[in-house]
Amino acid sequence: MTAQPVSSHFAVRASFARWADRHFRSLLVLPALLLLVVLVAYPAIYLLGLSVQNITLANIAKPDRQLFVGLSNFANVFANPNFFSTIRTTAVFGVASIAVELGVGLMLGLLFTARFRGRRGLMILMLIPILMTPVVIGLFWKLLLNGEWGVVNYLLSVVGIAPQSWLADSSLAMPSVILVFAWGGISFVTLVVLGAVESQSVDLHEAARVDGAGYFAILRYVTLPLLKPVLLVIVLILAIDALKQFDIIYVLTGGGPGGLTRVYSLEIYDQAFSRSNFSIAAAEAIVLVGLTVVLVAGLVRALRASVGGGGR
């Protein structure tokens, strides 16, 4: 950049180039940042605004009838027993589905570390649920779980179990929804566990084996402790995923029977789009953001720890 500018035109260009080079890193982020501010931050502020007004379908087009109501929507949300049953439903759904995903996924991931024929082909099949459209997952499980002619009932009848209405029965709907949702998450756990175990140092396993440790001793004292930071990351990702869940449950049960599978997102959807209580829904959504922030903060810390601990 030491060349003498020959004319003012070049001087302008050169100084622009210098300016652009100096602000290189900021200019690169600027478009994405602007777009996300417009698309995420602005609606978030709008949501806050909604939550402190009294907007329903009746007055949404009439600004003169919209009132500032302070935090009373939040007070109403927390005073509503249905809201707490939603929270409980979400918690049960989340904890149970994480348990299934983690249990089965961990077992499969460990099994896949063995060398056996057909391993590669099976791993390709494992990828399908990860990329599968959630709506379709709900759709074909609804087909399989049909109470009158579903294959699941047929297979159970072969071993002598009476047919059930899996998605309509009040004690079976939640377990069914949990298993269907977990169905979509197992592969993710399997692949992450497999990747993490295979990147563990072979020396440690070798040393344990030389010291006379059997398979399960190595698993318990070497593999799993080393896996801990990664497992924590997995649990947090699964928790975020469970808290977000809408599509599969919407298709399977729509939150029924009798609201028994109405998790948090479905509750907000019902509040806003079935009952048109936009302001109440906004207050619920803000509480949900709070819960998400807590989980994400945990995830960020866990990610840092897993990288710092050589989890690569």
């Binding site: 390709i124 806003a272 998400t292």
Partner: protein
């Protein structure tokens, strides 16, 4: 831990794996089977396993105007979202990968935006889009999808840029290239495979999107997941059509899995294994 398996362990391994993989794979196969069943045999008890396949369900589904229109809309929206997200996202990702631009707050924000349930943004969008004339339009859905796709694309791309050695651009800088010249002439060409993988995964996530279309569109613009979900209530007695719509939705994911398995494992799981 590489396990040296004996015969007994192998039997156990195959047994367990067979069980779980059966659980993971057979359901989707049953849908495929249902989609090519003659309509009269779909809802029978006991289920019909043997039948002469028919294309009747697919012909009916693909003959429906709403399905053809929704396929077109879904493809247009997904491509537009992907191009927007990957283009803008690649610059941001490069800056974050090289200079840790924004530090922890940006890192946190990128994860948070991906973690926030769709309904949280769908609700203000629903009200705002009506006022802005974006309700039930393709640009409206592209903007809504971008809230998910842009952070996702940046997240994927940061890892890819991390893998491109700095020495190459430093050499270009020493040779008199400007920062921008080095970016466009050295880094971006090297990042092309990463950009392609990020593009395909971003396309898939847009293709699978359901919620925004459910609340922000429905008359003029429809997406395939939305139409498929409507089918369940419309054709409660005609599950062959529902299954056919489901199979159509699965074609892109299955192609993607078969063509680029290795890249997907990396792209989708590095977040957990590698910060």
């Amino acid at each position: 831990m590489i396990m040296k398996a004996g015969t007994r362990q192998l039997v156990l391994i195959y047994g367990l794996i067979g069980l779980v993989v059966g659980w993971l794979v057979l359901p989707a196969l049953w849908m495929l089977l249902t989609s090519i069943k003659p309509p009269a045999l779909v809802a029978t008890n006991p289920p019909t396993f043997l039948f002469s396949p028919t294309s009747a369900n697919f012909t009916a589904v693909l003959g429906a105007k709403e399905v053809v229109g929704s396929i077109r809309d879904t493809v247009v929206i997904s491509i537009a979202t992907t191009v927007l997200s990957v283009t803008i996202g690649s610059f941001a990702a490069y800056s974050i990968a090289r200079f840790s631009t924004g530090g922890t707050p940006v890192f946190f924000f990128l994860i948070l935006v991906q973690a926030i349930p769709s309904v949280v943004l769908g609700l203000p969008f629903f009200v705002m889009f009506r006022q802005l004339g974006l309700y039930d339009t393709i640009p409206g859905l592209v903007l809504a999808y971008t809230t998910v796709s842009l952070p996702f694309a940046i997240w994927l791309l940061v890892a890819f840029f991390d893998d491109i050695p700095r020495e190459l651009e430093e050499a270009a800088l020493v040779d008199g290239c400007s920062r921008w010249g080095a970016l466009f002439r050295v880094v971006m060409p090297l990042a092309r495979p990463g950009l392609a993988v990020a593009g395909i995964l971003t396309f898939m996530s847009a293709w699978n999107q359901f919620f925004f279309a459910l609340v922000l569109a429905g008359q003029n613009v429809r997406t395939l997941p939305q139409v498929a979900s409507n089918y369940i209530s419309t054709y409660t007695l005609d599950w062959g059509k529902v299954a056919a719509a489901g199979v159509l939705l699965l074609i892109p994911p299955v192609i993607v899995v078969l063509v680029m398995q290795r890249h997907i494992v990396r792209g989708l799981t590095f977040g957990a294994v590698k910060g």
